[in-house]
């Protein structure tokens, strides 16, 4: 090479040498330490006082399965209510009407500012404030209407709406202002442009945190056990009050929670792909 200087020629020629593979001794040390800890943990649970056959026996018990059903249905119902309220509150918050804005801000303040377990207790005990609800002919005793399921749905759903409204608002803010203008320019009203143009695009931003919230909701339903709603944790407790197998039944409930959440994750990925239409892509 003509570009090589006279000085380069003085350096040793290493072109025939091979490279010695790197030794990742720190990784192996980490494997050893973690392996030891896991082995100790496994041994502790093996010799600990857990009757694993109880776990297996109660895993598909009738009470547990109906509790599982209630957990899933309540999660879906409360989330649906939360999304409906969240969209409404976000649209109100983003509207030019200052009264609607104020109502939306007040809603988020009230329900994000109090513990959800307190809200559940309030809904469940609504009869103490209003013994009957309705007007004139159409009146019912509140205790008949406010069953544990209704109180749980209202408490969890309305609380969820306050959080979901912020997720929805972030989604709406993520859509370029030019999209709102283009929608107006072809004669769309605000509501139509939100439905046809803004929300379909906002979904890409909304779905990941909403999936997160849904997973949170599945576990949040366990709080409804305090108002006697028969979800899976409440069912497990009912069984262990009778047979005193506390840990075994808690493990049963834990495994079911893990299973539901595990099933949900690929579902979220499918939804994300559905709403990624037109995004990025190659020329």
């Amino acid at each position: 090479m003509t570009l090589a200087s006279a000085r380069t020629a003085a350096l040793p020629d290493i072109s025939g040498y091979s490279i010695v593979p790197q030794r990742h001794w720190k990784r192996w040390l980490a494997v050893a330490v973690i392996g030891l800890l896991l082995a100790g943990l496994a041994r502790a649970f093996a010799v600990g006082q857990i009757e694993w056959d109880y776990v297996a026996r109660f895993f598909t018990a009738q009470t547990i399965l109906s509790g599982l059903f209630n957990t899933v249905v309540m999660s879906i119902g409360a989330m649906a209510l939360g999304i409906a309220l969240g969209i409404t509150a976000a649209v109100m918050r983003m509207s030019p009407n200052p009264v609607l804005q104020g109502v939306a801000i007040g809603y988020a303040w009230l329900f994000r500012g109090t513990p959800v377990i307190l809200q559940l207790l309030l809904w469940f005990n609504l009869a103490l404030i209003f013994p009957t609800i309705g007007f004139g002919e159409w009146s019912w005793r509140t205790v008949d209407v406010m069953t544990p399921a209704v109180a749980a749905l209202l408490g969890l759903g309305i609380n969820q709406g306050a959080y979901t409204s912020e997720v929805m608002r972030a989604g709406m803010l993520s859509v370029d202002q030019g999209q709102y203008e283009a929608a107006k320019a072809i004669g769309m009203t605000r509501m139509k442009s939100l439905r046809r143009i803004v929300f379909p695009q906002a979904m890409r931003v909304i779905i990941p945190p909403l999936g997160n919230e849904f997973i949170g909701m599945i576990k949040l339903t366990s709080l409804a056990s305090v108002i006697q709603f028969a979800e899976i944790l409440h069912s497990a407790q009912n069984i262990y009050y009778a047979n005193s197998r506390v840990i075994e039944l808690l493990i049963v409930a834990a495994i079911w929670y893990l299973l539901i959440v595990t099933i949900l994750t690929p579902g979220q990925m499918l939804l994300e792909r559905r709403f990624a239409r037109g995004a990025g892509g190659s020329r």
Partner: protein
């Protein structure tokens, strides 16, 4: 031999003012645009030309004055000697008379080129899908993109996106087309294809108001050129008059700065 009667202007802008906070963007602009006329508005950024355009289809609400489009006062209803604000739905209906093409295209990214064009006629005008699809394909062919109907905006070049945006505006069958610096966001080699589509549209007799920096386009296509500065119309005239023999010192200064 009697002269044919002069038709009323399609757009009448009368003493329009607009403030953004303390910034006085339009300081009393008056302008008529005749049916079939192609008008180019030129001027430095901040001169108020884009604001004026956006006032015409009510993306910006005016503070004072009046804008009439196709014989209708925009934004207000006259009743008992007083002006009443139109509802959002009535404003949306008035906007159907104008089509708008934006600097940044603003195509709907979650829809294909064809769906972008069909969205207004189907969702706003409630027209039949199959009938609209035929028209939309014809419009795509008119702007030279017959083979791109299933492409998403992300897979189109800037010039192609802007031509789809022109087709989307035309699909509403507007009486007036507004262009807000339609070639300013384009790579230089893509400007020509968009200007060609606009020239074809001008030749078809469409009334057009074009805010632009393309003086060559203005010279070739515009019936009238308006120069704006500081929220006012400084000078208006035929393309040849205004671009070759400007009267006002400010116009001369702007043109020499742009052309040098």
């Amino acid at each position: 031999m009697s002269q044919p009667p002069i038709p009323p202007p399609l757009v009448s802008i009368v003493d329009v003012h607009k403030h953004f906070g303390s910034f006085h963007a339009l300081k009393g602009v008056s302008l008529d645009v005749m049916p079939g006329e192609v008008m180019c508005i030129i001027g430095a950024s901040g001169s108020g030309k884009t604001t004026l355009l956006r006032c015409i289809n009510q993306l910006v609400e005016i503070d004072r004055g009046a804008i009439w489009v196709d014989g209708e006062l925009t934004g207000f209803r006259i009743d008992g000697g007083r002006l009443h604000h139109l509802t959002e739905a009535e404003i949306a209906r008035q906007r159907l008379a104008t089509g708008m093409v934006f600097q940044r295209f603003n195509l709907f990214p979650h829809m294909t080129a064809l769906e972008n064009i069909m969205e207004g006629p189907v969702q706003v005008q409630r027209r039949r899908r199959d009938e609209v699809a035929g028209e939309a394909r014809a419009l795509l062919a008119r702007v030279g993109l017959a083979d791109k109907e299933n492409a998403y905006p992300a897979n189109l070049s800037g010039g192609q996106q802007q031509r789809v945006a022109i087709a989307r505006a035309l699909a509403m069958k507007p009486k007036l087309m507004l262009f807000d610096e339609p070639t300013s966001a384009l790579d230089p080699e893509l400007v020509g294809e968009v200007l060609a589509a606009m020239k074809e549209l001008a030749a078809s007799g469409m009334t057009m108001i074009v805010v632009t920096h393309e003086l060559g386009f203005a010279r070739e296509v515009a019936d009238r050129v308006v120069y704006m500065d500081g929220g006012l119309i400084v000078e208006a005239g035929s393309a040849a008059e205004l671009l070759n023999t400007p009267r006002e010192a400010r116009t001369k200064a702007f043109l020499s700065a742009v052309l040098s």
